[in-house]
């Protein structure tokens, strides 16, 4: 959808995706469905969860997703969970090379004081780990390990903090390895050819308002927002032409009236959804992808497949161009 004026290639061609939005809008589901879309077209997809959410294991009824290595959830679809503490140790090990030195540091009080006082250190090691996954190359031949890396971000405010952290540290530290590291991470995270941020909303006032504001904030910080997802859109079952007949039958006190009233309520929600979609598109300038509202007791794999279909249809080439 190059017509919308969003800089950069379509989402499909960006390896690193961050899925962001208000709490409860379905970020985990969208992240998993994006990964599933890659896997189904033959790519290798990694879905990353942060801050101990463990939603992936629930979605795929798998055992706990590992914090160490990627766990295969479905053919071609892998999950990993990033824990800031473990990522810090990994980072230190990579920098210091010598194991006893790492232990000396992580066991010292001075280090913990520093870690608590240095703003955004847990976020930095988290985004650093994500970055290293996104740029990892296979040992044979140097092709990327992952065709797509999709991050299920924490809720809006904390999610934006995660995305901004490398830029902040780059600004904060005048020199030294941490600054260099932050600069390398920031280069990838802010580059529209490499990274795409997907902002998720539900067709509700507060979620849409938050998505619009988050998009503006992130653009202001030079972060590449690529698409918006409107999750839970009522299927188009009725048109306004149906309203008079439904309204007449709705007068019936029995089951007929009940069904007609359910139809009218659905029509109202359809109209609300349309209004929210229009507002989201107009105020963000983003392509808006609809995900259908799936009425069931619990999100499950067949439901996820349906959402992956909708994403594949909604994003031109949601599947990777290989």
């Amino acid at each position: 959808m190059t017509t919308t004026g969003v800089p950069g290639p379509p989402l499909s061609q960006r390896r690193l995706r961050f899925v962001l939005g208000k709490g409860g809008v379905g970020k985990s589901t969208v992240a998993a469905a994006l990964g599933l879309a890659t896997a189904r077209s033959g790519g290798r997809a990694l879905v990353v969860e942060v801050a101990g959410q463990h939603r992936l294991s629930q979605l795929f009824s798998a055992g706990r997703v590992s914090e160490e290595t990627a766990t295969e959830l479905r053919p071609g679809l892998f999950g990993i969970s990033i824990d800031a503490e473990r990522a810090t140790e990994e980072y230190l090990a990579g920098q210091l090379k010598i194991r006893p030195l790492v232990e000396l540091l992580t066991h010292s009080k001075a280090f913990h004081t520093f870690a608590a006082a240095a703003p955004g250190l847990p976020e930095l090691v988290t985004i650093g780990k994500i970055w290293s996954l996104a740029i990892a190359l296979r040992e044979d031949g140097g092709a990327p390990v992952w065709d797509t890396v999709t991050v299920d971000c924490p809720a809006t405010g904390h999610g934006i903090a995660l995305l901004e952290t490398a830029g902040n540290i780059e600004e904060l530290a005048a020199g030294g390895p941490i600054r260099d590291q932050a600069a390398r991470i920031q280069e990838v995270v802010s580059h529209p050819a490499a990274t795409g941020i997907v902002i998720v909303a539900r067709p509700h006032e507060l979620a849409v308002a938050e998505a619009i504001e988050a998009t503006q904030t992130m653009r202001g910080h030079g972060l590449p927002v690529a698409a918006a997802v409107l999750n839970g859109v009522h299927p188009e079952r009725f048109s306004t032409d149906d309203a008079p007949a439904l309204a007449t039958v709705a007068e019936d006190p029995g089951p007929l009236g009940e069904a007609a009233r359910a139809g009218l309520r659905h029509l109202e929600r359809q109209e609300d959804d349309d209004a929210y979609r229009a507002r989201l598109a107009a105020e963000t300038g983003l392509p808006v992808i609809d995900l259908p509202r799936l009425v069931r007791r619990r999100m499950d794999l067949p439901a996820l497949e349906l959402l992956a279909d909708a994403l594949a249809a909604g994003v031109p080439g949601a599947e990777p161009v290989r």
């Binding site: 208000k22 709490g23 409860g24 801050a51 101990g52 030195l101 540091l105 009080k109 001075a110 913990h112 004081t113 520093f114 608590a116 006082a117 240095a118 703003p119 955004g120 924490p154 809720a155 405010g157 904390h158 903090a161 901004e164 902040n168 904060l172 530290a173 005048a174 020199g175 030294g176 390895p177 941490i178 600054r179 509700h204 006032e205 507060l206 979620a207 308002a209 938050e210 504001e213 079952r237 009725f238 032409d241 149906d242 439904l246 039958v249 019936d252 029995g254 089951p255 007929l256 009940e258 069904a259 007609a260 359910a262 139809g263 659905h266 109202e268 609300d272 009425v295 069931r296 007791r297």
Partner: protein
């Protein structure tokens, strides 16, 4: 439950993201104001959601009167709202405890401080608690309703004061790095004075660069002498939150995940000794009464009412009704589960509204079902 809340100074609304915390907080505050209390609702959310829920163009760090006159009736109650500005609160706290003007400026202008107070999530949560403290001291309000910040762990903000004071206390680094403490010596001087930690510091410096480490040390040194004040305040807030002056309200949505988290949250609050006032089950879908109509009969009725393609329309109306049944059954089960887990005392249900409850009339609709 509402009656019980009227006797508390602080009402803390917690729950995971997306359960409707902001809307319920606003509605609870309106209900308390209708009950005669001068009430303020506080949100930490930077996304201006409370303002839009109250139909106001914006909110600031100072309480503003919500134009709810007609909704409040003849009582003496008032409704106010404020949106937390974490940075402003932190600045005030620093000003309060800084020994002198120089110490104050030194912190406020430190680069680490500027990033910390504005951007870091933990600091925001701490400031929410601190703002509560200020409002209690202020004495203007009989009821203070807090819409807690969204967090993976909904109780993060309760631990925030302890976390922040712990780090300000961080003596190890402060003593080691305080400029002047080792006669202005560089890395070598530290090593000589503190042989054990010297290695650690040089390792740290290798990672961070000397300048960042110096900034952090300056920052920590700036708080010297303020620790006591911070710690006392953190302790005071905690005591208030644990006392009968506070009431925690857990907000749950009917989706299975959300329900489980709400139960866990209630259990943890109780286990930690925080006074749980009740649970609100939000957006409960009613179960449509009776059996679904026979398809042909519905199609005939719609055809009689002038529908063009009555059969297709009947199928769609039946599908809409079937959706409502699925959700109605799911929510019945949610209610049953919640009853089993927490008992029926202190449980309030808020129905799902066909139109999203926004702006003051919407909030008033929700407030109306929060029975006294």
């Amino acid at each position: 439950m509402i009656h019980d809340l009227l006797s508390r100074r602080l009402v803390i609304c917690c729950g995971t993201g997306g359960v409707g915390k902001t809307t319920i907080s606003a509605a609870l505050a309106l209900r308390l104001a209708q009950g005669g209390a001068r009430t303020v609702v506080v949100t930490i959310d930077p996304a201006r959601r409370l303002a839009s829920a109250l139909g106001m163009s914006g909110l600031s760090d100072e309480p503003e009167r919500v134009p709810a006159g007609a909704l409040l009736g003849q009582g003496t109650g008032e409704l106010w709202a404020l949106q937390l500005d974490a940075k402003a609160t932190f600045d005030r706290l620093v000003s309060r405890y800084a020994a002198d003007e120089e110490a104050r400026t030194r912190i406020l202008e430190n680069r680490i401080y500027r990033h910390l107070s504005g951007a870091v999530a933990g600091a925001q949560e701490y400031m929410a608690v601190e703002r509560l403290n200020e409002l209690v001291e202020d004495g203007r309000f009989e009821c203070i309703v807090l819409d807690t910040p969204p967090a993976t762990n909904a109780l993060d903000f309760l631990d925030a004061p302890q976390r922040i004071t712990r780090f300000i206390e961080g003596r190890a680094l402060r003593l080691l790095l305080r400029p002047g403490a080792v006669g202005g010596a560089g890395g070598l001087g530290w090593k000589i004075l503190h042989a054990g930690s010297g290695t650690v510091l040089s390792l740290l410096e290798r990672l961070t660069g000397a300048q960042l480490l110096r900034d952090v040390s300056d920052f920590l040194a700036g708080f010297d002498g303020m620790y006591q004040g911070f710690a006392e305040r953190a302790e005071a807030v905690r005591a208030l939150l644990l006392s009968e002056q506070s009431g925690f309200v857990v907000i749950a949505a009917t989706e299975p995940d959300s329900l489980g988290q709400a139960v866990a949250l209630s259990e943890r609050l109780t286990a930690d000794g925080f006074p749980l006032a009740g649970v609100i089950l939000n957006r409960v879908h009613p179960l449509p009464p009776g059996d679904p109509p026979a398809p042909q009969e519905l199609a005939r009725a719609l055809a009689g009412a002038g529908a063009a393609d009555a059969e297709a329309l009947a199928a769609n109306a039946a599908a809409a009704l079937a959706d409502e049944r699925v959700l109605g059954l799911r929510d019945l089960e949610a209610r049953r589960e919640l009853h089993a887990a927490i008992g029926s005392g202190g449980l309030i249900e808020v129905p799902w509204f066909a139109h999203e409850p926004v702006e003051l009339p919407g909030i008033a609709e929700v407030a109306a079902v929060l029975a006294l």
